[in-house]
């Protein structure tokens, strides 16, 4: 690979790379606001200016400037090199680039930083970006001085509603145009633009329009400062109290990599953030997925129920075992769930195949919805492929088939995972007993005779296989609420109660047992391997 020099360090690059890209790949962060790896280059913030040595045998391009002598106060002529934006400049073999090591660069960055903060309001205490704001980080790193202007700053409208999800603050905006470029290039709905010039310019929505396409929350995500804030997250939490779990979005079969941000003090999930994975979601997530985090605490079951009665988990498991004891396995249906992780499904499958001896497998899940050609998939279940892979020998029947079998009287008992269903499930009322393991309320829950509270994806680590067959691990964020437990744990407890040897204690035990079934990616059981954006099993 060809290399170039950045601050006397040899950096490899691929032909066509810009300086900032090559440095980014090498793990060196050249300070920047407007550049984003997933967007086109605008080179308008001027924060990434670097000094580039002249080609061999050529003089450096120097600018004539006047510099103020701090002692006399007089202006004296001086020279300085012409600096170039690292985000726009393509790398050439043997190029010598100075970033941190050039005094001209640090002077320029100081000046850019001073300019960007010139009209910035004193908003940090009430700004949601505080704590993850580039202006804060770069001020300390690259300026560290007070500004010289003491005039009243320019005032612009604050808290403008851009659409149902986004609020804009013109005073905090540095007009890097990342949001404008995102709407145009990724969401393909150029609804934002820049108005006015100089210190009066601001971002506006097209007249007669609202910022309401399917990826509006990404504009907030790409915003390097606190100008765009999400209605959903505004004033809800301070980011320095949040911790991030590397999760996988549960919204559809795309399986976007996300960070699930939670507060460890009250065990509450606050938001989703996209996690870079070039093989799956690149840098983005859709609005539905971004807001899907809220399900972690909505419509939850956190207690076991027998009929309508709330009971202890122990009693619930006993009741579930009682409902299944001595029943002809041919009459028991096992309903796997595309909403649950492979581990959960594997546990239920093991209970069915190895212990109960029932081969009546069915799969439940959410009904299909709309997809698009950016990220959204029509299959709204995160693990359909995972279940298919688990039952590769005998594909599970659909919910309609289950209902038919029930109507025909072939099935009298059922154990089901998850409460979502793609069709009307009134027919389930004919079941003798339905044992349901589900974190959420849903269509199936109404027919459950025994309900055991399962943990959500936010409360249990698990593997999900997306539509392309990539197995990805989603980490646990918060602890399971009240009596909720990971579904595989509940199934193992149920199995033990029925007298079977299901002695899994840890997730790794389940993974070890499922290794031959679920392919090599999960077999290793290591986080790194599972979540690495490789393993395209197609």
């Amino acid at each position: 690979m060809p290399t170039f020099k950045l601050d006397d360090r040899e950096i490899p690059f691929e032909p066509g790379d810009t300086i900032i890209q090559a440095a980014h790949r090498a793990g060196i962060d050249i300070p920047h606001y407007c550049w984003h790896p997933g967007l086109s280059v605008a080179a308008n913030c001027r924060m990434c200016l670097v000094e580039i040595g002249p080609p061999p045998g050529r003089p450096a391009m120097m600018l004539d400037i006047l510099r103020q002598d701090p002692k006399t106060g007089e202006y004296v002529p001086a020279k300085k090199p012409k600096l170039q934006p690292a985000c726009q400049m393509r790398v050439a073999e043997g190029m010598e680039v100075k970033s941190e090591s050039s005094e001209h660069v640090s002077e320029a960055r100081t000046a850019v930083q001073e300019l960007l903060l010139l009209n910035h309001p004193v908003d940090c205490p009430i700004c949601d970006q505080a704590g993850e704001c580039r202006l804060q980080d770069y001020w300390l790193e690259h300026q560290g001085k007070k500004k010289r202007m003491h005039d009243e700053p320019v005032h612009k409208p604050k808290a403008q509603v851009f659409g149902p999800t986004i609020v804009y603050d013109g005073e905090r905006c540095i007009v890097c145009t990342r949001c404008v470029r995102f709407c145009e290039e990724v969401a393909k709905d150029p609804v934002l633009d820049v108005r006015e010039r100089g210190n009066l310019n601001e971002i506006v929505v097209s007249p007669g329009r609202e910022l309401d396409h399917g990826y509006t929350l990404m504009t907030e995500y790409v915003c390097p400062v606190g100008a765009l804030t999400a209605t959903d997250f505004r004033f809800k939490a301070r980011v320095w109290f949040l911790r991030s779990a590397r999760s996988v979005c549960q919204g559809c079969a795309t399986g976007c990599n996300a960070f699930l941000d939670y507060d460890p003090r009250n065990e509450t999930v606050y938001r989703h953030r996209p996690r870079e994975n070039l093989k799956v979601n690149k840098y983005w997530m859709c609005d539905e997925g971004m807001l899907d985090y809220a399900r972690a605490h909505e419509e939850r079951f956190v207690n076991a129920y027998v009929g309508e009665d709330e009971v202890s988990l122990e009693k619930g498991v006993k009741a579930a075992a009682k409902a299944l004891k001595g029943v002809d396995p041919e009459r028991v249906a096992i309903v796997l769930s595309a909403q649950h992780s492979s581990e959960d499904n594997f546990a239920l499958l093991t209970l069915a195949r190895d212990f109960l001896g029932s081969g009546n497998l069915f799969i439940s899940g959410k009904p299909h919805g709309e997809g698009d050609d950016v990220l959204k998939h029509a299959d709204k279940n995160p693990n359909t492929r995972g279940v298919e892979q688990l039952c590769s020998t005998t594909p599970p029947g659909s919910m309609s088939e289950l209902l038919e079998a029930i109507a025909a009287g072939k099935i009298t008992h059922a154990v089901a995972l998850g409460s979502a269903a793609p069709v009307d499930v009134e027919g389930l009322s004919q079941l003798n007993k339905l044992v349901l393991l589900s974190p959420f309320d849903g269509p199936l829950a109404g027919y459950a005779d025994v309900l055991l509270p399962a943990a959500t994806w936010a409360e249990a680590t698990g593997t999900y296989v997306n539509f392309a067959g990539i197995a990805q691990e989603s980490e646990r964020a918060v602890r399971p609420e009240h009596d909720a437990r990971p579904a595989w744990k509940l199934i193992a407890a149920l199995g033990r109660e029925l007298g079977y040897a299901m002695d899994w204690q840890r997730l790794s035990d389940v993974r070890l047992a499922m290794a031959p079934d679920a392919g090599a990616a999960v077999a290793s059981g290591s986080v790194a391997e599972v979540s690495a954006p490789t393993g395209a099993a197609e």
Partner: protein
């Protein structure tokens, strides 16, 4: 009323013969800190002793690993609660050594003056309490009066009498008050006067001297091997004082002496503190004369020092600076350092390990008291039961520092 044991024959009583086992503490009133001594006695002679500490252990070193570097100051305050300013300065110097910065001269003098005043309060407490424990209550009250004056000055300067948390990495929390110099000079004079009176009262007292003289002798070799530092080591005749041996801040610029004992007994440890009080007064005199009335107290680095409050509320730069330092803490480059200063009881060391983040990775406080107390067993073994009190008093164990 008849005595209950009227019918008892003494021979029937199961009184253990020698050696008798005696527990002293952990709440014995003559114990400075919370310490327990289990003694094996033959008559009144101590055959063996086991000194047990830890009753005041609060897990400071663990807690230090859970905050920012600046949040360590309140903990070091509560280590030696008779001279917290010395600990504050000691920790600040350790951090500054890692950062490679030096505070302005004015601040160095200021730190020296406050530190020496704290040392005076430490020695006043120790010697006063020692006299009290041997029955001389009056000198104790006088000396505490002197300490009170020092604490009033501290309150004036820092806002708190005892746990100031006044040190900062890169300076002090506040500049000196306008009347600081007059105030400090006046306090110093008053304390010296009290000292002369107390000395006249104590050093002419036969009973007092007899209880100290020749009691609890520690040879210089033993003192060194035990890791003793400070007044206890110097009483044994070893002239080791960090201020002279490795001058830090402006200590190299002052003219002062290191008093050294000859016998290494309780009297030496007592009188050494008296002499050190006078030396501290000398240092304060010189530092007051050298200290500028105007000038910066803190280093000028936005990565280390908090901005003035009025800027925090009115400018975005001030807000950012304040936010970064409070929320993320000042960053200390990864590495390790051992920094040592002369605390009230000897070499106060800080062994710091940083992983480059805003939170300390390890803060090891090398407490002089811990090692001095470790030597108590050696000091009292073979002495009489009644000598425990002067011996223990002369070592000046500070529970907070010993147990952390």
């Amino acid at each position: 009323m008849e005595p209950l044991d009227i019918d008892l024959d003494e021979a029937e009583l199961d009184i253990p013969a020698e050696p008798a086992l005696l527990n002293v503490g952990p709440a014995h009133p003559a114990m400075h800190g919370t310490v327990k001594i289990v003694m094996e006695l033959s008559g009144e002679t101590i055959l063996r002793a086991d000194v047990q500490v830890g009753y005041l252990h609060r897990g400071f070193e663990k807690m230090c690993e859970r905050g920012t570097w600046s949040q360590v100051f309140p903990y070091v305050d509560r280590c030696n609660y008779v001279s917290p300013m010395l600990n504050n300065v000691g920790f600040a110097l350790a951090c500054e050594k890692m950062l490679g910065i030096e505070v302005p001269k004015r601040c160095q003098h200021y730190r020296v003056i406050l530190g020496e005043l704290a040392r005076m309060s430490d020695h006043l407490t120790c010697t006063g309490a020692m006299a009290m424990e041997l029955g001389a209550f009056t000198p104790f009250l006088w000396m505490i009066k002197g300490r009170e004056m020092i604490w009033d000055l501290m309150e004036d300067e820092t806002g708190a009498r005892l746990t100031h948390s006044f040190g900062r990495v890169g300076g002090m929390a506040k500049p000196p008050t306008p009347h600081f110099k007059e105030h400090a000079a006046a306090v110093k004079d008053q304390v010296l006067k009290i000292l002369d009176e107390a000395q006249a009262l104590l050093l002419g007292n036969r009973i007092f001297l007899d209880r100290l003289d020749g009691v609890g002798i520690v040879s210089p070799e033993d003192a060194i091997s035990l890791g003793w530092t400070g007044p206890c080591l110097r009483a044994s005749g070893v002239p080791y004082d960090v201020r002279k041996a490795a001058p830090y801040m402006t200590y190299g610029e002052y003219d002062f002496e290191v008093p050294v004992g000859t016998a290494g007994d309780c009297f030496d440890r007592f009188i050494i503190r008296f002499q050190e009080l006078k030396q501290s007064a000398r240092i304060i005199d010189q530092a007051l004369a050298m200290m500028d009335d105007e000038g910066p107290i803190n280093v000028e680095d936005p990565r280390i020092i908090l901005p003035p409050k009025e800027e925090v509320y009115s400018t975005i730069e001030g807000t950012i600076q304040h936010f970064k330092i409070v929320m993320e803490g000042l960053k200390i480059p990864a590495g390790e350092v051992y920094s040592y200063t002369e605390g009230g009881n000897g070499e106060l060391g800080f062994y710091l390990v940083s992983d480059g983040s805003g939170t300390p990775y390890r803060v090891r406080i090398r407490p002089p008291c811990f090692l001095v107390t470790a030597g108590l067993e050696k000091v009292i073994t073979g002495e009489m039961m009644s000598d425990v009190v002067p011996c223990f008093g002369s070592l000046n164990m500070i529970g907070g520092e010993c147990d952390r």
